[in-house]
């Protein structure tokens, strides 16, 4: 064999130099193709990549895409490609943080949890939409969208950085058939729109459990709620419990988004401590050291390690009378195949009237605010197309379409009062309750320090609820910890 690098192939001599030249040319071509990909598709249309919810993208991505074009008026020259993020919200946040910090141009449009949009705004990683969107779109968003939802997408300078795609509100979901068996009348007493006190609620659940115990073999709990040591505890299930007692993390509603280091820390106040005592009463009963009188045992100890899917499953499996969850759970449980019209939804109970609340803007029924906002990658190469996608999303047709297709609530709360929304089965049946919950929604206090504060809060509350520490002592320690965190910028 000759010591030559060339080989005979198809009548042509392929030398190393030729190979390198060919590989180089191929690389350059691929590079150009890579640069072009993302801005124009095969048919000459502009492609907008949209960092999106993985379940929705997989299950109804095509329907949502069609909705934007057919009912939102999105030009056919623009094609949305959904880039599903991971299901876990925290992991998605970390991934987008890496992508945007690294200056990546993809995805062009990003769906961000209302719980962490502010973090990206404060780090100047997303586009200021006040100078990006047309004035009429800005006017619509700022005047008609749910205020609490909007507040999660605004910077401290008052500019808009995100447009809510859908909000989410915590609600109480329960079995009407079981409470009726126990002698209660949810429809006649307007449970759907008239919130009750936690004390009455817990007594109803205890009685319902007792009245149905013999007939319902799988029924084991009165009330289940997510109380694991995780973000969902600090942002939501405990936040709404505490607020309904008239308490707050940082003095009240005005201080939710700062000023960091200058706002009071009020986690050691009586309403906050009482809300933990109430959770302990639900879990361990009135014999617990920290229990409140009049609040019977209605929940399993397991809730201390449960998040929303566990709670949802307990309801699906017929193990509980009531659950605290997000509206997605309605869409499963209220179908004709499951509980149908025997499934009830009501606003979350409260302990203190707003007029008697210790912290400003608290008291009364309170639903934690969830939901997701659309934000724009400042490195996008297709800003005009991105603008058009956002414009389409702000139309009533698209909002109602998303409610119909996937159960995502419209960020324009008034749409819930329309017949079109009520006609959407099964969630539309509960539109009035969702409207009440939306009006009483409470955002989590998101600043750049929230990830640390949230972790500290969930650890302290979960630890105290699981009887590792007395509620008052745990909250005093938490206050000290939050003071260190607030002073660390």
């Amino acid at each position: 064999m000759p010591r030559d690098s060339s080989r005979e192939s198809g009548g042509r001599r392929a030398t190393r130099r030729r190979f390198i030249a060919a590989a180089g040319a191929a690389g350059v071509s691929a590079g150009f193709a890579g640069c072009l990909y993302g801005t124009t598709g095969s048919g000459g249309e502009t492609v907008v990549s949209f960092g999106f919810d993985p379940s929705a993208a997989q299950a109804v991505g095509d329907e949502i895409r069609a909705l934007f074009h057919e009912e939102g008026g999105l030009s056919n020259d623009i094609r949305i490609t959904f880039e599903p993020g991971v299901q876990d919200s925290g992991s998605r946040r970390d991934k987008y943080m890496r992508q945007l910090t690294g200056g990546e141009a993809d995805p062009d449009l990003i769906l961000m949890d209302s719980g962490w949009t502010r973090t990206f705004i404060d780090r100047e990683l997303v586009t200021n939409l006040s100078s990006f969107l047309p004035q009429d779109v800005l006017d619509t968003v700022e005047s008609e969208y749910l205020e609490s939802s909007l507040s999660t997408a605004m910077g401290s300078d008052g500019s808009l950085y995100g447009v809510p795609l859908f909000p989410d509100f915590g609600v109480m979901q329960y079995r009407k058939d079981l409470v009726r068996n126990a002698g209660f009348q949810p429809d006649e007493d307007d449970w759907a729109t008239e919130p009750m006190t936690w004390e009455r609620f817990s007594q109803i659940m205890a009685e319902t459990l007792q009245a149905n115990a013999d007939e319902e073999e799988s029924l084991r709990y009165g009330y289940v709620f997510p109380f694991d040591s995780y973000e969902g505890l600090s942002c939501c299930s405990f936040n709404e419990m505490m607020t309904s007692w008239g308490g707050a993390y940082f003095g009240g509603r005005d201080n939710l988004f700062g000023p960091i280091g200058e706002r009071p820390i009020t986690v050691d106040t009586e309403p906050v401590v009482n809300s933990i005592r109430m959770a302990r009463s639900f879990i361990y009963g009135e014999d617990d050291d920290a229990a409140l009188d009049g609040y019977p045992r209605i929940s399993p100890e397991n809730v201390l390690s449960w998040s929303e899917p566990n709670v949802h499953n307990a309801m699906v499996n017929g193990e509980t009378v009531a659950q605290r969850n997000w509206p997605y759970s309605i869409a499963t449980n209220a179908t004709e195949e499951n509980y149908g019209t025997d499934y009830g939804v009501m606003p979350l109970p409260y302990a203190t009237e707003p007029s008697n609340a210790q912290a400003e803007g608290t008291g009364g029924t309170t639903s934690a605010l969830g939901g997701w906002n659309m934000t724009v990658n400042p490195n996008t190469e297709v800003p005009d197309a991105v603008r058009e996608v956002i414009e389409a999303a702000t139309t009533d047709e698209v909002m109602l379409g998303l409610f119909r297709i996937w159960g995502w609530l419209p960020p324009k709360l008034e749409l819930l009062r329309t017949q079109a929304a009520r006609d959407i089965e099964p969630t539309g049946r509960y539109a009035e309750t969702l409207y009440v919950a939306g009006q009483n929604s409470m955002p989590r206090p998101v600043t750049v320090l929230w990830p640390q504060e949230s972790s500290a809060i969930s650890s302290a509350v979960n630890g105290s609820a699981s009887r590792e520490q007395a509620p008052a002592g745990a909250m005093t320690d938490l206050k000290n910890e939050l003071q260190v965190i607030e002073g660390s910028t």
């Binding site: 910090t101 694991d228 390690s305 750049v448 320090l449 990830p451 640390q452 630890g463 910890e481």
Partner: protein, 328 residues
């Protein structure tokens, strides 16, 4: 060799090359064999140095800068060793662990050391036992070998899920009995003591086989004739183990322990996969990840990372020094 060198010099000198080239060649010819070998290896050393040390130096450089939580600039101004001082004096606000120690870094250090010492110790003892079993010739040895090695083949995420499903309240069968006996709490993944115990058990379950394989290699390298001589001399099995097996296998055990110590000291994946999570079991690696990705304090995260690297280097240095002395 001398003749070859002569020929090379003559060929180059007579080749009409430039003066610099000729001087270089002459200089090369003056090098002795080991110097010439180092010269040839220099590019590799340089590359290894870049790969191994450049990230470390880069991390150290980042650790000398302040955190910047707002604004477009990701890294703050140069602050010297301030991040280290604040970390060690507990002034830094980190994601605080679910732990009674007030200072997060010290808590993470304690958690990491407890995990490392306990798991490596048990893995060594169990691995040694398994290696001794595998070293015997008996019927069904192949199946025993598979059974011992199987846990090691399980991916870390699957291993985490197995333990999560076993110890998740309401799902796992193991919570009730062990909780009633007071071994773990009723919410094991929300409690540091229980979580740490479960993670150590999970690590021992998986990694003892790794130790067994390394130690087995050491056992099989022992000259069998030594045992024949011992038997002829009337030595008991215990005496054979004590005076032949143990001294000859100790260097292998020490190397295996070194590998496992390095690996255990950077534990992260198992904590996350098992359901305990970094909040409940805050190892040093956990603190690096949460400080960097969750709370975006890049300077502080770099300082913790560099400190972790320093601690692991110290452990390695101590182990290597012991190895050099020929003991455990």
């Amino acid at each position: 060799m001398g003749t070859e060198t002569e020929t090379r010099t003559q060929r180059d000198a007579g080749g009409g090359r430039s003066g610099a080239y000729t001087r270089s060649v002459r200089w090369l010819e003056t090098l002795d064999e080991s110097q010439f070998a180092y010269l040839l290896l220099a590019p590799v050393f340089l590359l290894l140095g870049l790969i191994a040390f450049w990230p470390l130096l880069s991390t150290f450089e980042l650790s000398l800068h302040a955190d910047r939580l707002t604004g477009a600039t990701r890294v703050g101004e140069f602050v010297g060793l301030q991040n280290y001082v604040e970390l060690f004096t507990g002034q830094k606000a980190l994601v605080n662990p679910f732990f009674s120690l007030e200072q997060p870094l010290q808590s993470a250090l304690v958690v990491t050391l407890v995990f490392t010492v306990v798991s490596v110790l048990f893995e060594t003892v169990i691995g040694f036992g398994q290696a001794l079993v595998l070293d015997q010739d008996f019927r069904g040895r192949r199946w025993v070998r598979v059974a011992i090695i199987l846990p090691w083949a399980v991916p870390i995420v699957i291993q985490g899920m197995i333990f999560y499903l076993m110890f998740q309240p309401g799902v796992g069968f193991a919570v009730g009995p062990l909780s009633d006996l007071g071994i773990i709490s009723s919410q094991p993944f929300n409690d540091l003591g229980s979580s740490l115990l479960l993670i150590i058990v999970a690590d021992i379950w998986k990694t003892s086989a790794f130790m067994a394989l390394l130690i087995l290699a050491g056992l099989q390298s022992i000259d069998r004739s030594l045992y024949d001589v011992a038997r002829v001399s009337g030595a008991s099995r215990v005496q054979q183990f004590r005076y032949i097996t143990l001294p000859l296998v100790i260097p292998t055990v020490a190397v295996a322990m070194l590998f496992r110590t390095i690996d255990a000291a950077r534990v992260f994946g198992l904590i996350e996969a098992s359901g305990a999570g970094c909040t409940t079991v805050p190892s040093l690696s956990c603190q690096v990840v949460t400080t960097f990705f969750t709370i975006g304090r890049y300077g502080t995260a770099a300082a913790i990372a560099f400190t972790t690297a320093g601690i692991i280097s110290l452990l390695v240095a101590v182990n290597i020094a012991r190895l050099a002395r020929g003991g455990l």
